[in-house]
């Protein structure tokens, strides 16, 4: 069953999600120029590990996929492969205006213009490279959303997979990914929640 509707959450769900929000693992992958503000966020001065957020190495172990700034088409192909390897619930966080609507590279031939046509994005951070404080404020907002059980944009990828698939094929042609998303959705019981 998908994340239950907000009204149906009983005490056990509330306790679970308040515990789950305390541990978020961020994929250690700098896709764009915003990644220069990640080391200061991870290290001594801003220290995001206070909230239990830790950089993890492989997609299998990560919950958050950071798209730090612009995304060239070549990186988008790798990002899709990585996103599908991640275990849901997973959250895509888009940094800066490049992920919202092209940003500084609006007239570039090799960067995609808006990220949420290709991946369900949970959180956009403003700033042409968001500052460490903005990143931590964004992560806190994400933690609150998880706490209230509203952070389920990842189901959207399973539910209307055709929309995303069509845009991806338009961007870089057809690639065979390792995961057959619709069957994964059915197997793990994410699709029939709203039937």
């Amino acid at each position: 069953m998908a994340e239950k509707l907000l009204t149906q959450r009983n005490a056990w769900d509330r306790v679970l999600s308040s515990l789950k929000k305390r541990s978020l693992w961020m994929l250690h992958y700098c896709t764009g120029c915003g990644a220069i503000e990640l080391p200061p966020t991870m290290t001594a001065r801003y220290d995001m590990e206070r909230f239990g957020i830790m950089p993890m190495v492989t997609p299998r172990q990560a919950d958050i996929l950071l798209i730090t700034g612009y995304l060239s088409v070549k990186t988008l192909k790798r990002v899709i492969l990585i996103y599908e390897q991640m275990q849901s619930p997973k959250y895509v966080v888009g940094f800066g205006s490049c992920t919202i609507n092209g940003g500084m590279y609006w007239n570039s031939y090799s960067t995609i213009k808006s990220l949420d046509q290709y991946l369900p994005v949970e959180l956009f951070l403003a700033g042409c490279m968001p500052r460490p404080e903005a990143i931590i404020a964004g992560f806190n907002a994400l933690m609150d959303k998880i706490d209230q059980g509203k952070a389920n944009s990842w189901e959207d990828y399973y539910k209307n997979y055709e929309f995303y698939r069509k845009n991806q094929q338009h961007a870089f042609g057809d690639i065979e990914t390792h995961h057959d998303i619709p069957s994964d959705g059915a197997y793990f019981g994410i699709l029939e929640a709203d039937k």
Binding site: K74, W106, N107, Y109, K113, S114, Q117
Partner: protein, 204 residues
């Protein structure tokens, strides 16, 4: 000790002429004139000399520059697309550590055939620049081993840096922008959405 070896043994490690008293720009110009037979060079600015070289003479010019004059550093190979004159201009920037002078050799090649000899057998950094120019402009370098796509490996359009390829139009056709169809947006910008570059273009 893992000593990596280069697979071309014939390249000189350090030409003998590279060590010695620094020569002034005038000496370099005269040395170039009589030893290499290239008279088109002139001094443009302090530590900058520049000149044009015929395409077929470039390979020997590069070889003599290294062996005779002791120039050791190929800083860059740039390519300029003069579309009005139908020519590509390849600018070879050589830097001499001994004399602290930059020698820019300008070579004009025809834009349609767009072919040039390679100098990777003499200058190892040239392999990146030539592969880059091949990708971005479509200039074929005769004799260069690996000209396959490196940066634009997922790009199947025309060479993007040519002047006839306009990046803005490609971006508008190929990628969808977010259309804010919020009523107040229409009123403020007079129904125009898109780049602010002075052209009034209704976004379809």
């Amino acid at each position: 000790m893992n000593k990596p070896t280069l697979d071309r043994a014939n390249v000189l490690a350090r030409p003998p002429a590279a060590v010695g008293k620094p020569r002034s720009a005038a000496d370099l110009l005269s040395a170039m004139a009589d030893e290499l037979g290239i008279k088109t060079f002139f001094q443009k600015a302090p530590r900058r000399i520049e000149g044009t070289v015929a395409p077929e003479l470039l390979h020997s010019f590069a070889a003599n520059l290294r062996n005779r004059l002791g120039v050791e550093h190929l800083s860059a190979i740039s390519c300029v697309d003069w579309i009005d004159q139908g020519q590509f201009e390849l600018v070879y920037h050589f830097w001499s550590y001994r004399d602290s002078t930059l020698m820019s050799a300008k070579v004009r090649i025809d834009r349609a055939t767009a072919q040039m000899d390679t100098i990777t057998d003499l200058w190892q950094p040239a392999s990146f620049f030539e592969r880059d120019i091949h990708e971005m402009f479509g200039v074929y370098f005769r004799g260069n081993g690996d000209l396959e796509k490196y940066i634009l490996s997922d790009w199947n359009g025309p060479p993007p840096m040519r002047k006839d390829f306009v990046s803005r139009d490609f971006a508008h056709e190929h990628f969808q922008f977010k259309t804010y169809d919020v009523p107040w947006d229409e009123r403020i910008q007079g129904g125009y959405y898109g780049s602010r570059n002075g052209e009034e273009k209704k976004n379809g």
